[in-house]
Amino acid sequence: MVRPITETDSDLLRRMCAGDEEAFRTIYRRCQGPVYRFVLHMSGSPAIAEDVTQDVFLTLIRDAGRFDPSRGTLPAYLLGIGRNLLLRRLEKERVFVAFPEGSAPDGSEPKNNGEHAHLVVAALDPVRNETIGRVRQAVLSLPENYREVVVLCDLQEMSYQEAAAVLRCALGTVRSRLHRGRGLLIEKLREFRKPGENAVVGKAKSARNR
């Protein structure tokens, strides 16, 4: 049977609830990336990201009927499940910052065991990679409530409204937490930054249309 390419999440979910495996596979492939990356940015651990992503979709398989389209999109719903599972796990394990495996002391890219699709291109631009590693560490060091809005809004490029749906909070809360979280990030990165590195800032300034 030929199905439209742009089948909505609700249609897919309806088919999935009737036992359609292909519909589930499509939902998974559409939504697993954002869920996985959200957990990875929040935890810094590919293993935790993998576990939580799996648990999110197992929850969907078990109880898809709990999704209420009037309260947000399916990706937001799944991210919300992922967030709850992650916070529970972090609470249990107290794993916050730092990549547990393969993390270099200079904050460079975490190593990957090859099973994850994480791209490692460290050799191409070590300075840039070092910078990205520092930003990643700075994000991981944020308090959870600020970290999640930075991850959702700045790294996942979600709107305030979408982030508010995931976090189940007011839009104004997202805005204020993002403002505060970015302020904390700037402070942390200022500590990391080597003397004279602020010259890079000039690039951003010159790019600004004043």
Binding site: G19, E21, F24, R25, Y28, R29, Q32, G33, V35, Y36, R37, L40, H41, A49, E50, T53, Q54, F57, L58, I61, R62, E115, H116, A117, H118, L119, R128, T131, I132, V135, R136, V139, V150, D154, L155, Q156, E157, L178, H179, R182, G183, L185, I186, L189, R190, N198, V200, V201, G202, A204, K205, A207, R208, R210
Partner: protein, 219 residues
């Protein structure tokens, strides 16, 4: 003109290229030009935006390992596969029993009177030396045709099938029927001129439903 506190309130939004009204953007940029501290803050916020975007771009290809999908598909299949448990089997057995009961009830309601024949009696009735063909039996047993009792008529059972075996009658049964002349003829029993009459007869029916032997009772 915007002061430092107001500027700090919009600096992050400005650095993220959020849609702000023109007056706010112009006011903020004018303030940054005249305030070194706020200008530095805006520069750092813009740098942060570019660094976060670089991190996002670097992570864009991060996805869950393939084994997660395989595990989930297996879980999905398990969730939806038919339940082979005992309750399922019981339901099937109950269904079969129900159908069987309906068939038996139907047979009882529409069936004709029948008498079960004990296997020993059936064997005795079909001993060698008795009539071997329906025609011979019909002509040789006038007493039975005159309305003999069940006991008297028992001697008149005639094989209708070449495979009729009197020693394997344990599961067969005798059914009393009323047959027309044509029906009797179809069984190989000649009826002569009395073709229109109904004849009462006992039939030995095998398990597969085929008549094995006949005994004419009367008409």
């Amino acid at each position: 003109m915007m002061n430092c506190q107001e500027f700090q309130g919009v600096a992050q939004a400005l650095a993220r290229d959020e849609s702000l009204d023109v007056a706010t953007v112009e006011g903020a940029l004018t303030h940054a030009d005249s305030c070194e501290k706020c200008d530095a803050l805006l520069e750092e916020a813009e740098l942060l935006t570019s660094e976060l975007r670089a991190l996002a771009a670097r992570s864009a290809a991060d996805i869950a390992p393939v084994r997660v999908e395989a595990t989930l598909l297996a879980a999905f299949q398990q969730r939806w596969e038919p339940d082979p448990g005992p309750s399922h089997l019981l339901r099937r057995l109950a269904g079969i029993a129900g159908v069987a009961a309906a068939i038996i009830l139907g047979l009882l309601l529409i069936g004709r009177p029948k008498v079960l024949l004990h296997p020993r009696e059936a064997a005795r009735l079909t001993q060698p030396g008795r009539a071997n063909s329906p025609a011979e039996a019909a002509s040789a047993q006038p007493a039975a045709q005159a309305g003999a009792s069940d006991d008297e008529g028992a001697d008149s059972f005639v094989p209708l099938s070449g495979t009729f075996d009197p020693t394997s009658l344990s599961d067969d049964e005798i059914v009393r029927v009323s047959l027309s002349g044509d029906e009797l003829e179809s069984l190989g029993v000649p009826v002569g001129d009395s073709g229109d009459q109904q004849v009462v007869a006992d039939l030995i029916i095998a398990n597969d439903g085929t008549p094995q032997a006949i005994r004419l009772v009367g008409w």
